[in-house]
């Protein structure tokens, strides 16, 4: 750690401080004991190139509709991007209700849940809950909106009929650890009728207790918690294969190892409750952790189906099941990449599309929506995707507080 002294007054201060430095050893032991660094900074290499790398929160003012980077968005031929809704501070998770309402979650900048309704082609945004603790995880099922924070899961019943006066939430499950690091959620209802809930590692890299780094599922009343997968560092996006109902999830790789290692990944749970996906011992299926990987063999852990780039911030994902896009997109997976904060060269901040190979893996990945990185800065940062009932694809962008709609016409 570099220490600088006030060079202007060397005689009066510097000399005396040099003397006083000798007294440092006389301080109480508690002053010498190192306190915890912020969790994201642990493992950060020393040096100027990394000194200013830190997670950047969403800008506290949503971008006005006419200033959104929609003209910058690049898509394959035939696809069109438009602003679907704006002015939604910190817009992150997306879910659609039975009556068409789009629910939008947020993280610490807003701490709100929004409901967006379509009024004759214009979108109306309502805040239906606020002052919540990192309410990133939402799911809609049978008229109820489920909201997951790092601490608990609550339920807002009959929500679409009461957007102007939302009901008091009902507690579903209040035994989540509540840790902030990787504690915010992505939740989803499985084809087995259970609610799937991740519990991320409470650190960048550590060997956590069995309470962490896993995906669990539970009954809709919070009972019957079962483990689905372990060794999962931090998933903020998953979906169920429309072909066989199996779970696929994105995972954020550890930080600070190097600019280009390890990759984030897309993973496939083929044996629920039996697979270990490597954290903290093995990253991206073939790279043993320099600290925790000694004595471990990467072949003992489930391999990722797809690598999605180093520090890419691979978040929300959804199988395409709509009718609007060309048939080649049927059953493909759209994946949002938020873009790295801890990498010198910014990239991603896009939507990629991955095609399952029909044998449990992924055949190929292609860029789908790009154009949000300019001059090594982000013009926007995608978080989640949602296949609408009409087959169009919504994309949330927390840094602009906006939602884009991607449609296709021949």
């Amino acid at each position: 750690m570099k220490t600088t002294f006030p060079l202007r007054r060397p005689g009066s201060v510097l000399a005396r401080m040099a003397l006083s430095a000798l007294l440092l050893g006389a301080l109480g032991a508690h002053a010498q004991q190192a306190a915890e660094e912020p969790f994201w900074a642990k493992g950060r290499p020393k040096g100027a190139a990394t000194a200013n790398m830190a997670p950047v929160p969403a800008f506290p003012i949503p971008t006005e509709a006419d200033k959104l980077p929609v003209a910058k968005l690049k898509l394959p031929p035939g696809f069109k991007a438009e602003v679907w809704a704006s002015g939604i501070l910190d817009a992150r998770g997306l879910r659609q209700g039975d009556k068409g309402t789009v629910f939008v979650s947020s993280l610490f900048v807003a701490g709100k849940i929004y409901a967006v309704t379509d009024k004759g082609g214009k979108r109306e945004v309502k805040t239906i809950a606020e002052k919540l603790f990192l309410p990133n995880g939402i799911e809609f099922h049978k008229g109820s909106l489920y909201v997951a924070t790092p601490k608990d899961i609550t339920r807002y019943d009959n929500i679409e009929a009461s957007l102007d006066s939302p009901p008091k939430p009902v507690m579903v499950y209040d035994k989540l650890p509540g840790e902030v690091p990787h504690g915010w959620k992505f939740i989803k209802l499985g084809p087995d009728g259970k609610l799937y809930v991740p519990i991320g590692a409470p650190c960048n890299i550590c060997d956590p207790s069995a309470d962490f780094a896993k995906i669990v599922k539970m009954n809709l009343d919070g009972s019957g918690v079962e483990t689905v997968a372990v060794g999962v560092r931090n998933t903020v996006g998953f979906d169920f294969d429309p072909k066989d109902g199996s779970l696929w999830f994105t995972n954020n790789g550890r930080d600070w190892l190097s600019e280009d290692l390890p990759n984030d990944s897309l993973n496939h749970v083929t044996q629920p409750g039996k697979q270990h996906f490597g954290f903290p011992y093995c990253h991206q299926g073939d790279f043993a952790d320099p600290e925790f990987g000694w004595g471990k063999n990467c072949n003992d852990y489930a391999k990722p189906a797809l690598l999605t780039g180093p520090h890419a911030g691979t978040l929300g994902m959804r199988f395409y099941t709509g009718k609007m896009f060309p048939s080649q997109y049927q059953g493909a997976i759209f994946i949002a990449r938020h873009g790295p904060w801890n990498r010198s060269q910014k990239y991603a901040a896009d939507i990629v599309v991955a095609w399952p190979d029909g044998k449990g893996g992924i055949a190929k990945m292609e860029p789908f929506l790009t154009g949000l990185v300019e001059n090594n800065e982000y013009l926007g940062r995608p978080v989640d995707v949602l296949v609408m009932k009409d087959g169009s694809l919504l994309v949330s962008d927390d840094h602009n507080g906006a939602i884009y709609r991607i449609s296709y016409a021949k």
Binding site: M1, T4, F5, L27, H30, P38, A54, V56, P57, I61
Partner: protein
């Protein structure tokens, strides 16, 4: 007390004009000409990153940072005002070092604490801050202490408990040493 004396400034928000001029009419009465405060417990704004400044204005406007005067001022501000004032603040030259020299013993005790608490991990080796993280270099010592006490007591919370967690286990005396250190350590970071 100083905060109450300055309460009159809030009414001027709605004026037009460039934000540098509006800063002079709305903010300077308390925060000083060029954003270098001479008022007790009132922060120097000069050299704060615009992202930090707009985040604080946002938290005041949203009622999530507790200060009656600043909340009243910010409630009258539009999104454009938040952007304009925060950019005007960031454009002000960094503040000069404090006039009075540091007390060597307090400075060294505070330096040891700053190292133990990893202050520079977020605020930078030169304590100049960056993006959403405030500049500490050149800040008033009494305001630094007030802010540290608020974080320590969890009466001031930003987006999350990071500062409260960072200060867990510190004593009131240690916070005084830390504020003294930060106020003067910053002096080295201010270029002539």
């Amino acid at each position: 007390m100083a905060l109450l004396l300055c309460a009159a400034a809030g009414s001027a928000v709605a004026q037009g004009g460039g934000y540098a001029e509006r800063f002079a009419s709305v903010c300077a009465a308390c925060h000083g000409a060029q954003g270098v405060s001479t008022q007790a417990l009132t922060p120097t704004l000069a050299g704060q990153p615009s992202f930090y400044a707009i985040t604080q204005l946002f938290l005041f406007r949203d009622g999530r940072r507790d200060n009656a005067v600043m909340s009243a001022v910010a409630k009258g501000m539009s999104d454009d005002d938040l952007r304009g004032f925060s950019e005007a603040i960031a454009a002000l030259p960094a503040p000069p070092p404090p006039a009075a020299p540091a007390d060597p013993q307090r400075f060294v005790r505070g330096a040891a604490l700053a190292q133990r608490l990893h202050c520079t991990a977020c605020h930078g080796a030169d304590l100049a801050g960056g993006k959403q993280v405030p500049r500490l270099a050149g800040q008033r010592e009494d305001y630094l202490l007030h802010a540290l006490q608020g974080f320590r007591a969890a009466t001031r919370v930003g987006y999350g408990p990071a500062m409260t967690e960072a200060l867990a286990g510190t004593t009131p005396q240690q916070l005084e040493d830390l504020a003294h250190h930060l106020a003067h350590a910053g002096a080295a970071g201010a270029r002539p």
